[in-house]
Symmetry: C2
C-alpha cells in the first residue's frame, strides 16, 4: 500500500491526500510532526527518505517521491483515471499555471520555516508576521481570482466542472488563509470553488482535522 509521510496541517501533504482520494488509491499515513522535538522532519531516518527534510514524502512500492506537485504528476501518469489534468496542452497549461500560482507565489512565503526566520532571525513582531502572512495570501489569491473570474474555461471548479490539480492546490491554501484570518471577500470565484470542492468526499476526507495526527 502507498505510504504517505505527512503532517496534518501541511498544505503540501493535504494536496497529495486529495489527489490520492480522487484517484481512489488507499494509503497509510506516517505522521511527521513538524513542531515536536524541533521537528521530526530533521530526524536522520526521515532525511534518508528526503534530504530536503520536507513533507510530504510518498513511498509507492520501491519508489520514494518528494515535492507534492511532482508526486501528483506521477500519480496522474501511473493512475490516469479519473484525470487530474484536462485534455489538451493549452488546458493543461492553464491548470498547471493556476496550481503554480499557489504553489510558487503564495505558499512558499507562508510556511513554518519562513515564519520562523521572520520571528527568530529578523525579530519581527507577531503582528508584523501575521500581516506578512495575510499580505501574500490576499495578494496572491487576488491574482488567482483574476485568472479565474474572467475566463470562460472556469466552471464549477477552477477548470470546467471536474476537480483538477488547480483545485487540489487551491483548497489547502484557503484552509491556511482562514486559519490566519485572511480577508477573502475579494475572491468570490475562488470561494465558490472552495465550497464546491469540500462537497466532494475526496476533499472533505483530506482536511487537516480528519487526519490521524490532528491535534
Amino acid at each position: 500500500m502507498i505510504k504517505l509521510y505527512s503532517y496534518f496541517r501541511s498544505s503540501a501533504s493535504f494536496r497529495v491526500r486529495i489527489a490520492l482520494n480522487l484517484k481512489g488509491l488507499p494509503f497509510e499515513t506516517a505522521p511527521v510532526h513538524l513542531l515536536k522535538g524541533g521537528g521530526e522532519q530533521f530526524a536522520p531516518g526521515f532525511k534518508l527518505l528526503n534530504p530536503a527534510a520536507l513533507v510530504p514524502v510518498m513511498v509507492d512500492g520501491g519508489e520514494t517521491l518528494s515535492q507534492s506537485l511532482a508526486i501528483i504528476e506521477y500519480l496522474e501518469e501511473l493512475y490516469p483515471s479519473p484525470p487530474l489534468l484536462p485534455q489538451g496542452a493549452s488546458a493543461r497549461a492553464r491548470v498547471r499555471a493556476i496550481a503554480l500560482s499557489i504553489a510558487c507565489e503564495i505558499h512558499p512565503l507562508n510556511n513554518l520555516r519562513v515564519l520562523g526566520y521572520l520571528s527568530k532571525t529578523l525579530g519581527v513582531s507577531d503582528d508584523e508576521k501575521n500581516a506578512w502572512y495575510r499580505y501574500w495570501v490576499e495578494t496572491g489569491l487576488a491574482a488567482v481570482e483574476a485568472q479565474l473570474a474572467d475566463d470562460p474555461r472556469s466552471g464549477a471548479f477552477c477548470h470546467g466542472d471536474a476537480a483538477t490539480l488547480a483545485d487540489i492546490c487551491l483548497v489547502p491554501q484557503i484552509f491556511n488563509a482562514q486559519r490566519f484570518n485572511c480577508e477573502l471577500g475579494h475572491v468570490p470565484t475562488v470561494m465558490g470553488i472552495f465550497r464546491r470542492c469540500l462537497d466532494l468526499p475526496a476533499f472533505a476526507d483530506a482536511v487537516p482535522a480528519k487526519q490521524p495526527d490532528a491535534a
Copy 2:
C-alpha cells in the same frame, strides 16, 4: 513566431529561454522591465496578458501562457523533441522534484517583490536582506546537492547525461546566487552540473547578459 514577455534578470524568464533554445524554437523577446516606472509588469496592457503581473508570459499562436514550469510542460507536450523530461514516471518525478525544490523552495523567497517587502514594509537593513537571500539560497541548494550527490541517477546533468527541466531551473538559480555572493563551496555536484550546462549554447545564449534588454 513565439513571443516571450521577459525580463533579462528574471530567473523564471531565463528558464523558458533555455527550454525554447533546447527545443530549437525561435522566439521574439518582448522586454518587460520590472523596475522601470514602478514596474512595467503592472501596466494595464501587460495585466491583460497576465493578471498576476508576473513574467514570463509566452504567446504561441492564439495561446497566452504564464508560469514558467507550466509553459515548459506545454512546450514538452507540443514539441517533444528533444525531451526535457526523461522516460518513465519515476524518473520524471525525480526531475520534477528537483525542479520544484528550486522553483518552490528557493526562488520565491528571493524575488524582487519579497525583497521589497522586507525593505519597505518591515524596515529590514540591506545587510539583513542580503543575509535572508543567502540563507534561503544556501540552505535550498544544500538540499538540492544532497538530492543529487548520493543518487546514481545523477550524471553529467541533474538526471543522466542530457539536460532536463531540473537543469533548466538550476542554472538561473546559480546566476542569482552568484549575483548575491552566496557561498557555493558546499554544493560541488550542483556547480559541476552548472558548468557543464553553460557549455551548451542553449544555456549560454539564454543568460541575462545576452538578452536584448540587458542593462
